[in-house]
Amino acid sequence: MVPVNYYIILSAILFTLGALGVLVRRNPLIMFMSIELMLNAANLAMVAFSSVNHSFSGQIFVFFVIAVAAAEVAVGLALIVQIFKSKHTINVDDVNSLKG
């Protein structure tokens, strides 16, 4: 069988990849997809912990994370599409009337 440690290491790599994607890419859609990768990494670790502990709260947490991801995706993609409609670009570099 596969030791649970391996799942956690895999999830750590996936989380890092996701975080890296958010930090280095400029397209909000890709950034958002990278955030989904981060959430999935957490879910993977959660299910692994949950199965090794034989406790359900981990799996239920994953369930809620998925529900929240769905809610976020609805709002986030609406925002992205709306900005594209009004500006015809969604690149973060072009969406910068606010000077940072």
Binding site: I8, L10, L23, M33, N43, V68
Partner: protein
Amino acid sequence: MTAAQIIFLITAAVILGSAFMVVTTKNLVHAALWLIVTLFGAAVLFATLNAGFIAVVQVVIYIGAIAILFIFAVMLTRRSMTDTGPGLNRGWWLSAAIALLTFGGLVWLVSGWGGFTKAAPAYPSGFDAVAALAHALVSPEAFVLPFEVASVLLLAALVGAVYIAFQRKGEE
């Protein structure tokens, strides 16, 4: 090497490869499709961890709803289908260094810690995991409160999304 280990290694490779493609590809449609591959790989791993229900939820909601919404969003913003211009921001090397450091720390942490070197035990035969999960989800002794709050949250998100995307009269 057992079959379970081989399945794990293949799935892990697929997950990491596709996740890498999501983060690096310039084409947004490809990114969304690679995301689906990653999500599917995660579903396979959920199944190997005795979490069959979560695996199904992953496929139905994450792939069936969330990833498809992503593809819709990419299609609706079609002009930016390929990411033109510099895909990376100026401070990318700094971000990369921080992320790699974090990653090294996490891996060192997990590998140095002996708490989880055992494999996930299987459920005793005759144990209905899905029924137990369902009970936990709606039982007042367990998780009914977050369940109800999640329903209100989805309502709020729905109202918000409709407000943002709604085309008013007088707007182009």
